[in-house]
């Protein structure tokens, strides 16, 4: 791989030193009367794994396409690796689009090398690297096969290799986990972590919250073409107070007045958000009021809960039904 690395384009100072690999300010993209991206400000720190979450139709793909220069914004401006014209930095970017696309008659290793060549990697080196990558991932036997003879998952892997073969500084993956089985999802997560360890900035969109929760340092939650939240996963969770589940022997008493107003009763269990003053005052009331505590648990909300709260119940509903559809599939 050493000689291959030597053939890579040199990275301008701007690309190396920029605090943000990708920036967008006041981005607006309108299709007809539909504002797919509606005034988005975003900054992806260099070297981070950054997730864009949102239900289908939220504007994630359009946002990525706008940031990468595939489409121009109607308003606002963007910077990619310190450059105002994104295509000028194309050699340092790897992009896996949501709708996968490969030439069906191309051999697997040729397809990978071709994608590298598009980004400036000499074909000869690309072919060597492609074979190495396929070999390393147990797909050596498929290197000479045309894409049309590969399974969907294998073709997707080929495209992913094509995205990173030229060793980009920024990798943008649009819904990379969709269509992959659990094993391949695991492999992809490992690959993303590996790239991040090497200092590569990884930006991906997903509607499966678990991936973002496991991988991302920062996330942006997009809904209706706008960013509803931007920050760390932990900060997103902190938007929601921990949830308390309480089970008591007594069903009523003076202690009931100490429970928050929005408490829900379900199957003999009380559910409510942890009060701002903490659990101790409530515990005192419960003990003094002889509620008879059978069980009490305090759970920190997950990113999914945060997403529901932030993006709205309707968006979450759409996402759940999609996720259910994928699970069934």
């Amino acid at each position: 791989m050493n000689d291959a690395s030597a053939a890579l384009p040199s990275h301008p100072e701007a690309a190396r030193d920029a605090a943000y690999a990708l920036e967008g300010h006041g981005l607006v993209k309108i299709f007809g009367a539909f504002r797919a991206v509606d005034g988005i400000d975003i900054a992806v720190p260099t070297g981070s794994i950054y997730g864009i979450l949102g239900p289908n139709g939220a504007g994630k793909t359009t946002l990525l396409r706008t940031l990468l220069g595939i489409v121009d914004p109607d308003e606002g401006h963007r910077r990619l690796l310190g450059e105002d014209q994104p295509l000028r930095m194309a050699r340092m970017v790897g992009y896996l689009p949501e709708e996968r696309g490969l030439y069906p008659s191309m051999k697997a290793f040729e397809a990978i090398a071709f994608m590298g060549a598009l980004r400036g990697l000499p074909l000869k080196i690309g072919r060597v690297r492609a074979r190495e990558m396929l070999e390393a991932h147990g797909m050596g036997a498929s290197a000479e096969k045309p894409i049309r003879q590969l399974s969907k998952g294998m073709a997707q892997t080929v495209q992913l290799f094509g995205t990173i073969i030229h060793e980009p500084r920024l990798i943008v993956l649009d819904e990379p986990f969709s269509g992959l089985d659990a094993i391949n999802q695991e492999k992809l997560e490992a690959l993303i972590r590996e790239q991040a360890r090497r200092g590569v900035t990884v930006l991906f969109s997903t509607h499966v919250i678990a991936h973002a929760e496991r991988l991302c340092e920062r996330i942006a939650i997009v809904a209706g073409g706008r960013i509803r939240f931007e920050g760390t996963v932990s900060a997103a969770r902190d938007r929601l107070r921990p949830q308390v589940s309480l089970r008591t022997r007594a069903s009523d008493g003076a202690w009931r007045r100490a429970l928050p107003a929005d408490t829900l009763a379900q199957d003999g269990t009380w559910h409510f958000a942890l009060p701002e003053e903490g659990i101790e005052p409530l515990l005192r009331e419960l003990i003094e009021g002889q509620a008879g505590i059978e069980s009490l648990s305090i759970e920190r909300p997950g990113l999914h809960d945060a997403f529901v709260a932030i993006a709205g119940a309707a968006a979450a509903q759409g996402m759940r039904s999609e996720a259910a559809g994928e699970d069934e599939a």
């Binding site: 595939i70 109607d74 709708e99 696309g101 008659s105 598009l118």
Partner: protein
């Protein structure tokens, strides 16, 4: 610009390899030769049929002496008029009479000539007599003269040059070059219409558009198709030249175009490339707007009609060298290559060709740019007022 050309080369290499190394390319190469091969096979077959000689056979029922004179006269006339010009003669017995002989199923003659050379009698059906009477009169007349036909000798007067003939020959070269270029263009440029459909249906366009300027995609596709065309032209041209040499044996007798053969051939290649890229860039731009193969098929007819009109325009201009109509055809970018190749056959000046090539090149770039911007606007749904971006850098 360097990056644009690099990216275009990557795409051109992929496209060209995908086409040239496919099995269907063999059919593509053989396709245009099929009519010639079939024609040659049929010509050979026809020749074989004609060589089996279907000329009517007339029986000669005369004395051996007269039969000999008739046969000798027949040979003399055939030598001058060609073997197919006259009926065939065959000696038949004098007895029984001609009527009886013709009535026999094994007679194998259409009619019978009896009597003598000086007083021949032709027996046969009315239709056959109408057809054969003249021929046999001529043979009998020649036989009656006993010796060779008297010929009037035409005196020869030779000149070294004939400008009228040269002009005619050059006009012919110009016309042939136009027709060949037109057929090659109509044969090959139409394929470009559907060139981006594969990328769009397979969603590859997204990967390409994210990696390289769309100008590079368009340029790369044109380069690939042009390279593929040259492979085809080399194959067809080589085959045609081989056949020509096999039939004629030499190229020495060919008239020379005004700029000379070497320059003419170079210009022919350049003008074909310009005609191809001019029409190709237009077709690529039009085809790129189509979402499906069906839409491309629908576009085929109007596009072909457009090509025909351009050809007719250029073809009309050939006969009007130097007239405003010829100037217009030379200036109008799409007809310019066809008009200029005809001009190269008839006029020796080189500089108009240099101007024309630059002019055509500018239009290629302009058409590609407009096609790209329309593609970005309508297919990629990007970019607002496209005309404002017309002269911006491709990556900008």
């Amino acid at each position: 610009m360097k990056e644009l050309l690099r990216a275009a080369r990557v795409i051109a290499r992929r496209d060209c390899t995908a086409v040239v190394l496919s099995r269907t390319f063999i059919l593509f190469l053989i396709g245009p030769l099929l009519p010639i091969i079939i024609g040659m096979v049929f010509a050979g077959f026809t020749e074989k049929i004609s060589s089996t000689d279907l000329r009517p056979v007339v029986g000669i029922a005369m004395t051996p002496s007269d039969t000999g004179r008739m046969t000798a006269a027949h040979e003399r006339l055939s030598a001058r008029m060609g073997p197919q010009a006259l009926v065939r003669l065959r000696a038949v017995p004098s007895t029984p009479g001609p009527r009886e002989l013709l009535a026999r199923p094994d007679s194998n003659v259409v009619a019978i000539l009896s009597g003598s050379v000086m007083q021949p009698v032709l027996t046969g059906k009315t239709d056959d007599l109408d057809k054969l009477q003249g021929d046999l009169s001529l043979i009998a007349s020649a036989a009656a003269m006993d010796k060779a036909l008297h010929l009037i000798k035409v005196e020869r007067q030779e000149v070294t040059t004939s400008l009228g003939a040269q002009a005619q020959a050059r006009l012919l070269i110009g016309r042939v070059a136009q027709i060949v270029m037109f057929f090659l263009t109509i044969l090959l440029a139409g394929m470009i219409l559907s060139n981006l459909v594969e990328e769009k249906t397979n969603k590859i366009i997204e990967i390409l558009a994210a990696a390289v300027p769309i100008d590079a995609i368009f340029l790369g596709k044109l380069m690939a198709m042009l390279a593929m065309s040259f492979v085809g032209i080399a194959f067809w041209g080589g085959t045609a030249f081989t056949i020509f040499l096999a039939l004629k044996g030499t190229t020495a007798g060919l008239p020379s175009p005004a700029v000379g053969w070497p320059m003419f051939l170079i210009l022919a290649v350049v003008y074909f490339a310009m005609a191809y890229t001019l029409l190709g860039s237009l077709f690529l731009g039009i085809g790129a707007q189509a979402a499906t193969v069906r839409e491309v098929q629908t576009l085929n007819m109007p596009v072909t009609m457009g090509q025909m009109m351009i050809f007719f325009f250029a073809s009309y201009a050939v006969d009007h060298m130097g007239d405003p109509v010829e100037m217009a055809a030379a200036i109008f970018p799409f007809s310019s290559p066809f008009t200029m190749i005809a001009r190269a056959a008839q006029e020796p000046a080189i500089w108009p060709h240099l101007v024309a090539i630059v002019w055509q090149g500018l239009f290629v770039a302009l058409i590609i740019r407009v096609g790209v911007l329309l593609f970005r606007r309508h297919v990629m749904q990007s970019g607002g007022q496209w005309w404002k971006r017309l002269f911006r850098a491709a990556t900008g």
